[in-house]
């Protein structure tokens, strides 16, 4: 087996972080899709462009949807990181098992 890229502690740490990231980002994506007002200040609403569109509500809604999609893409990336670090952790465990 090729030697693992991450060490034993690093891979476990990445696994924990990616689990947290997946759960939290999926929930955030849902909250953006539902257009919760608490997240309004995190939506990048450009005043000028909004004004040029005549203060249309659809503009804000599309921005919300963009953010939701971004969150879900980030959740997918974290899921990939989880899979990668899980494989690394398995390789590390096997190495220590073989040498001991």
């Amino acid at each position: 087996m090729a030697c693992p890229v991450l060490g034993p502690k690093c891979s476990v740490y990445y696994m924990i972080i990616s689990v947290w990231g997946v759960i939290m980002l999926i929930l955030m994506g849902i909250f953006f899709k539902v257009r919760s007002p608490a997240l309004f200040e995190d939506v990048a609403v450009d005043e000028g462009e909004w004004h040029s569109q005549g203060m249309d509500l659809k503009y804000v809604k599309s921005k919300y949807d963009d953010n939701a999609l971004n969150c879900w893409i980030a959740a997918a990336l974290y899921a990939l990181l989880f899979v990668f670090s899980f494989i690394q952790q398995r390789m590390n465990a096997r190495q220590t098992y073989e040498t001991s």
Binding site: P37, A38, E47, W50, M55
Partner: protein, 674 residues
């Protein structure tokens, strides 16, 4: 068990123990295992070297030294030391001799193996250097031979070295017979070696050198060094002795090198076989050493624990007194009254184990000395007890704040922390530590930071749980608010601000609670509308400050109430009159009154109140400055001015009451007798 058990420190008693000399060791071992007594030193002014068991302690320390040496050797070889986690009892004194013999044997074996391998390595180094010399000088002599042919022609100048061996050529007054020495020297020293030779021998010697590519291992230190082979050609005995002295000074090792090609080849073969033999022997020595260390590594942790326990027992025995009949040892110890049965049982089993017929006696003594404070803790309360003890260990039989701290400390932490999301993460982390505590404890991790967190795992668990609750109250999850019950601020379409929202959405509007607030509060926590408000922080500051004052002042009142319990227990009525009561009055007049005002203001004013309600902070400052210039509309209730002035005067009078009352009263008693 009385109700006082958790509230105060344990009731302790001074006991005297009479132990038979044979049974003493076993009894102290049993008492050490249960860990419930604290012995008093009955020989405080005796020097450590004059105590009774000083020889045994010396032997123990000798054993510890041997164990440390073995551990160092084991670590050098990288062998893992087995840590089964079992807790062996201290062995009997006769077994100590067996242990000593084992350690002595192991130490001698290790020392022998180490010195042998050192000698072998030195030998190996010499042979390797000789091998390199024989190889390198081959080239020197070959060159010399070529020049030797050239030198038959006398017209050619003679700076080149040459003539060695069987063919001396007579030349115009030149050397017939050149002598040479060959050796090995550290590479760094060659330049200065050359210069020194040139100077001392006035340029009449010739040095040739070649580097040895592979690094050689120094036998003593073990690190690899680079060396070079050199050969020096000279004529005459005087030069030879000078060269030898210089070589000695530069720590170059000289080797006898045969002159003829055939002899050199023979020698090379001999050296190769000897090197191979040495390698085999070295390998076997290392194997033997490794085997000895692996066998020792299995038991070394258990041995260390046993030796430490023996040493501790003898230290304790040193504190005892030998009575007049020289037959038994007398010991004095503090122990909890509740545990006297367990201690007697331990003494009985110790006496049985040692096979003595006379039982050990323990009896309680009356004394005026203040006993030590012992708070019985389990793994949950131990963390909180440590925090409380860090501020100062309570006196004997005082109220122990630790059981209350178990809740108030995490609760006040949560009031500061107050976030559901982060609190949940803290809670989950501590939950992991608590559920896996047996495995983590067995690992015996040395990392200090991890041990700090692990020791406080129950504290962190409670802090996380309370923080989730406080986050629910502050309506804060990862700094965002949740709308669980529906917002209670409704902007009706008829209000003028509504048009502003629809026509100029980017502008901020001022929402007056008078028309907007529906009147029913958000059931649990802060209304989520505040997360959209620009003055959210100003509102939250006021809310949290008032809550902190209420909680803090209540805790201070609670602390003073505990001191009343102390005064009642120790029967000090003076303290109640001159300490407790003025403290309560003072606290109430200043901050208790403020707490009441906070509640009054919260209850009296609503969103429909027309004038701005008066500020409590300004009101408090004016109370102490007796400043009532602003008039009636700044008063919350009628008669406030008179009542507040009365409170301030009473508070000021409490100060001399607290400071001087008891002193004056006691002086009066002493002077006029009682």
């Amino acid at each position: 068990m009385s109700m006082d058990a958790l509230l105060r420190s344990e009731e302790m008693t001074l006991c005297q123990m009479f132990l038979q000399s044979e049974a003493a060791y076993a009894c102290v071992s049993e008492l050490g295992e249960i860990g419930l007594v604290q012995f008093r030193d009955l020989n405080p002014d005796v020097n450590a070297f004059q105590r009774k068991f000083v020889n045994e302690i010396r032997r123990c320390e000798e054993m510890e030294r041997k164990l440390r040496f073995l551990e160092k050797e084991i670590n050098k070889d990288g062998i893992p030391m087995l840590n089964t986690g079992d807790n062996p009892e201290a062995p009997a004194p006769r077994e100590m001799i067996d242990l000593e013999a084992t350690f002595e044997k192991l130490e001698n074996e290790m020392k022998e193996v180490n010195s042998n391998s050192e000698a072998l390595k030195r030998n190996f180094l010499e042979l390797t250097e000789l091998k390199h010399i024989l190889r390198k000088t081959q080239t020197f002599f070959e060159e010399a031979h070529q020049h030797q042919q050239a030198l038959h022609d006398p017209s050619i100048a003679e700076e080149r070295v040459g003539l060695l061996g069987e063919d001396p050529v007579t030349r115009s007054g030149q050397q017939n017979k050149l002598g040479f020495v060959a050796g090995v020297i550290l590479r760094e020293r060659i330049p200065s070696f050359e210069v020194m030779l040139w100077r001392v021998c006035r340029g009449n010697v010739f040095l040739r050198q070649a580097e040895i590519e592979a690094p050689l291992e120094d036998p003593i230190t073990g690190d690899s060094v680079y060396k070079s082979v050199f050969i020096i050609f000279f004529q005459g005995e005087q030069l030879k002795s000078r060269i030898k002295k210089i070589c000695e000074g530069y720590r170059a090792t000289l080797y006898p090198c045969p002159e003829t090609q055939a002899e050199r080849r023979e020698m090379a073969i001999g050296v190769m076989t000897r090197i191979e033999d040495l390698n085999t022997v070295l390998g076997q020595t290392q194997d033997h050493r490794h085997r000895v260390l692996v066998a020792a590594a299995k038991n070394i942790k258990v041995w260390s624990i046993k030796v430490r326990k023996i040493k501790a027992i003898y230290h304790t025995l040193n504190m005892f007194n030998l009575d007049v009949t020289q037959k038994c040892l007398i010991a004095e110890c503090w122990c909890p009254v509740a545990d006297l049965d367990r201690i007697q049982q331990a003494l009985r089993s110790g006496t049985e184990r040692s096979g003595s017929s006379v039982p050990s006696i323990i009896n309680r003594m009356q004394t005026r000395m203040v006993p030590p404070t012992y708070n019985r803790c389990n793994k949950f309360t131990q963390g909180f007890q440590n925090i409380v003890d860090a501020y100062g260990v309570s006196c004997y039989r005082e109220v122990n704040p630790a059981p209350f701290t178990c809740i108030t400390f995490p609760f006040l932490f949560a009031v500061m922390f107050g976030d559901m999301g982060h609190g949940l993460i803290m809670f989950l982390f501590a939950l992991f530590l608590v559920l896996k505590e047996k495995q983590l404890e067995a690992k015996k991790i040395q990392n200090e930071i991890f041990n700090t967190f692990f020791g406080g795992r129950y504290i962190i668990l409670l802090m996380g749980a309370f923080s989730v609750y406080a986050g629910l109250m502050y309506n804060d999850i990862f700094s965002k608010s949740l709308n669980l019950f529906g917002c209670q601020w409704v902007l009706s379409p008829l209000s003028p601000e509504y048009n502003v929202i629809t026509s100029k959405p980017e502008e901020r509007i001022f929402v007056d609670p008078n028309g907007t607030f529906t009147g029913t509060s958000y059931p649990i926590g802060v209304d989520p509308i505040w997360s959209l408000a620009k003055n959210k922080i100003a509102f939250n500051n006021s809310l949290k400050m008032k809550m902190s004052i209420i909680l803090g002042v209540s805790q201070m009142f609670f602390g003073i109430a505990l001191s009343f319990l102390n005064h009642r227990h120790f029967q000090r009525p003076l303290n109640i009159i001159f300490d407790f009561i003025p403290m309560v009055v003072f606290l109430f007049c200043m901050f208790g009154y403020l707490v009441i005002m906070i509640f009054v203001k919260w209850l009296k004013y609503s969103s429909t109140s027309k004038p701005q309600p008066p500020s409590l902070l300004i009101g408090l400052i004016n109370m102490f400055l007796f400043n009532y210039k602003d008039g009636e509309d700044n008063m919350i209730y009628s008669g406030q001015q008179g009542f507040q002035s009365f409170l301030v005067i009473v508070a000021v009078l409490c100060v001399p009451w607290m400071m001087l009352g008891k002193t004056i009263y006691q002086r009066y008693l002493k002077r006029y007798g009682q």
